[in-house]
């Protein structure tokens, strides 16, 4: 029995070892790589992000693909940075893709893009939030979405300039607390909040981080209670977001407004888990979902249908849209480059100047030029403000983007 099992195992390993030698050689397609976390603790967020890129691919292929060829993805799973590096190596040296799309997770992006840079492969970041990603002077890295630091700044601005007056206060009297989970995501947004607070002269009554794996946040809630904030600016994933919301309620703390940063607080699971107490109280500065006003985001309904058809579930998440938009921009870059040569792609990318009228999220795409401290970052990117109302997440700001019939509700 032992020997048989051994032989099977050894045979399997050997078979697997020969796998990369069996090359797939079709020339009629363009192979691009994708890196997302399909397993591990943020698996659902990684998958949701991937869906955006996938939809962009499907739609473009309907139009005949790019450069006359259909686009094919080589999808990989990177639950952590180590795997990201390994997969990047594989994509660059075995699959020899000209571009890699990814990643949602900042740590994966950090690791993978450093590697792809060595291979002179373009890394097209669609959704990761750490500001430092584009502060490394990497030539082949481009990020189409807004980073968390900018998001944090927006969070504070929103609270101090939009919410405060509607709550009968001003930027000096409004009590703002910043609470964030302690991984790269929360860190980035909180840093943005802090910087903007300093710039605007707004004082934070609380600035606390917590471990997102914690099974209990009651001590954090007690600290929040002691600070007596009017508004909580929060960066949480889904599970800790739910936990925090529930425990705030359980301990009798009444917070009028939350402004989340779209990590987990804009997911349907958050609403389901936290209950209807969320409605009208929780806003999010972050990526928008599919309930954008169709007259503002042209084609959004068709996209939602495609989502339903392809993935057989309701498009309730928010990450796929921004990933979709970024990927669509990539097709434009490839078209203008006229080839898959890295230098041509980089040149075309640098020349990108897509107007906000032509994108689904209505902000443009233009990358900071070489020499700028944030080279490769889309400087026109910005976030939207959404709010939970009647069980659904609606876009409430900017006004023209808002879901028809919806506007910001502020609880006084």
């Amino acid at each position: 029995m032992n020997k048989k099992v051994c032989r099977i195992l050894v045979g399997m390993v050997m078979a697997l070892a020969l796998f990369p030698l069996v090359a797939s050689g079709a020339d009629q397609v363009i192979k691009l790589g994708t890196i997302f976390s399909r397993t591990g603790p943020i698996a659902n967020l990684g998958m949701e992000s991937w869906r955006g890129a996938e939809m962009a691919r499907l739609l473009q292929n309907e139009k005949g693909g790019v450069l006359g060829k259909k686009i094919v993805f080589v999808d990989t799973d990177a639950p952590d940075a180590k795997a990201a590096v390994a997969e990047t190596e594989r994509l660059c040296t075995v699959e020899k893709v000209p571009v890699i799309l990814g990643s949602f997770s900042s740590s994966i992006c950090f690791a993978a893009s450093a590697k792809s840079e060595q291979y002179k492969v373009v890394y097209w970041e669609l959704g990761a939030s750490a500001k430092k990603i584009t502060e490394r002077g990497l030539k082949y890295l481009f990020r189409t979405c807004q980073h968390g630091d900018g998001g944090g700044e927006q969070q504070l601005q929103f609270a101090a300039e939009v919410l405060a007056p509607r709550m009968g206060k001003n930027r000096n009297t409004i009590r703002i607390a910043s609470v964030y989970e302690d991984s790269g995501y929360g860190d980035a947004w909180a840093a943005g909040i802090r910087e903007m607070a300093k710039k605007m002269g707004v004082k934070l009554v609380l600035d606390e981080s917590y471990n997102h794996k914690a099974t209990d946040l009651s001590s954090l809630v007690m600290r929040i209670k002691a600070a007596e904030p009017d508004v909580i600016l929060e960066s949480s994933y889904e599970n800790d977001g739910i936990l925090l919301f529930r425990q705030i309620r359980e301990l009798g703390l009444k917070i009028k407004m939350f402004v989340g940063s779209g990590g987990g607080m804009n997911l349907p699971g958050y609403r389901q888990g936290s209950g209807d107490g969320v409605d009208n109280h929780v806003c999010n500065v972050g990526f928008p979902g599919y309930n954008l006003n169709p007259s503002y985001a042209k084609g959004i309904e068709k996209l939602a249908d495609l989502y339903r058809k392809t993935f057989k579930q309701e498009p309730e998440g928010v990450f796929s849209l921004v990933n979709y938009m970024g990927a669509m921009a990539l097709w434009d870059v490839i078209k203008r480059a006229g080839s898959l040569n890295s230098e041509a792609l980089v040149k075309a990318a640098r020349e990108t100047n897509i107007s906000g009228d032509d994108t689904i999220l209505r902000y443009g795409i233009k990358f900071a030029p070489p020499g700028a401290p944030d080279m490769g970052q889309n400087i026109l990117a910005r976030f939207f403000v959404t709010q939970w109302q009647d069980g659904k997440l609606h876009i409430v700001w900017p006004d023209e983007a808002a879901t028809p019939g919806r506007k910001l509700v502020v609880v006084k």
């Binding site: 397993t39 591990g40 603790p41 943020i42 698996a43 659902n44 998958m47 302690d182 606390e208 981080s209 917590y210 471990n211 794996k213 914690a214 099974t215 209990d216 946040l217 009651s218 001590s219 954090l220 007690m222 600290r223 209670k225 002691a226 889904e238 599970n239 739910i242 936990l243 529930r246 309620r249 359980e250 301990l251 009798g252 987990g264 997911l267 699971g269 958050y270 389901q272 888990g273 936290s274 209950g275 107490g277």
Partner: protein, 293 residues
């Protein structure tokens, strides 16, 4: 006032930790295996509760009647299929088998149910009771009471029933127990079953409080081990007290020191307990050595 609230929070939290750890201390104390898949049993039972609720409309407190027997059977199965063939192998083999099982279970659930978070939104779960300015949350109160009840019942079971006595005997000296004619394998299987069933109850009770996703067990399992060691392996009352202590430490250090350092505090306590009193609060001194050979 704040202090009392923090203390109460800690106690209620401790009830949760204790409930999760009781099953583990029974298994650890008797079968002497570090079961890395313990958190996954919790997770599976939470999924059971969730689907009973969403597919059958069954209130999680009623579905406990399903959780317990189902997890009991699963636990016995795990013991017979995986642990039993390795009983005489070096201890680390059992540990790695449970690690493999943990990986398998997490990803099996991920594969079948995807990683989306699911939560039960019970109106009942939001009810808060105020006693003299202190906020108490209903489901947590229920968990706390359930923990007390289960601890007492288990204690009586171990003390007074035949099987209970056999379990305790084996925990203290398996060689002697075998020489006395106890059928060790059967007892181990039953113990694993009971321990898993208890985790099943824990999962069912905490589903209204938490949320369900494949890696939820990972967050609880290390704390459970801390509680088990603190309380004394194999000791029910110890697990109960240990859970409460850890809950209070969590709550106090989170508030007075720093929310992001509270886990550090109890891991440090854990290491200190291991060094200075490895038998835990209630264990017999030297008990951690007995039955190791």
């Amino acid at each position: 006032m704040i202090f009392i609230q923090i203390l109460v929070n800690g106690l209620l939290l401790g009830g949760i930790y204790a409930l999760i750890s009781i099953g583990l201390t029974l298994i650890f104390g008797v079968v002497r295996v570090i079961n890395f898949a313990h958190g996954e049993f919790l997770m599976i039972s939470m999924y059971i509760s969730y689907y009973c609720y969403s597919l059958l409309g069954l209130n999680p407190y009623w579905s406990l009647l399903i959780n317990f027997p189902l997890m009991f059977v699963i636990g016995m199965g795990m013991d017979q299929i995986i642990i039993r063939p390795l009983r005489n192998a070096p201890a680390y083999m059992q540990v790695f088998a449970t690690v493999g099982l943990s990986i398998l279970l997490i990803n099996l659930v991920l594969f079948i149910f995807t990683g989306d978070y699911r939560a039960i939104d019970l109106p009942f779960a939001k009810k808060v009771v105020q006693v003299g300015g202190i906020y108490l949350n209903y489901p947590r109160l229920i968990i706390f009471s359930a923990t007390v009840l289960i601890t007492v019942l288990l204690y009586l079971f171990l003390k007074n029933t035949d099987i209970g006595k056999q379990i305790r005997a084996i925990a203290q000296n398996r060689t002697a127990a075998r020489l006395m004619g106890f059928k060790l394998n059967r007892i181990y299987m039953i113990t694993f079953g009971i321990g898993s069933g208890l985790v099943g109850i824990a999962g069912g009770l905490i589903t209204p409080v938490y949320y369900v996703y494949p890696t939820v067990g990972v967050y609880f399992v290390l704390t459970a081990f801390v509680v088990v060691v603190l309380g004394g392996m194999g000791n029910m009352i110890g697990a109960f007290l240990g859970g409460l202590i850890i809950g209070i430490v969590d709550s106090l250090s989170g508030y007075y020191i720093d929310p992001s350092l509270k886990e550090t505090v109890y891991y440090v306590i854990f290491v200190l307990v291991l060094i200075f009193r490895p038998s835990g609060l209630m264990g017999l001194v030297g008990a951690e050595e007995m039955g190791m050979k």
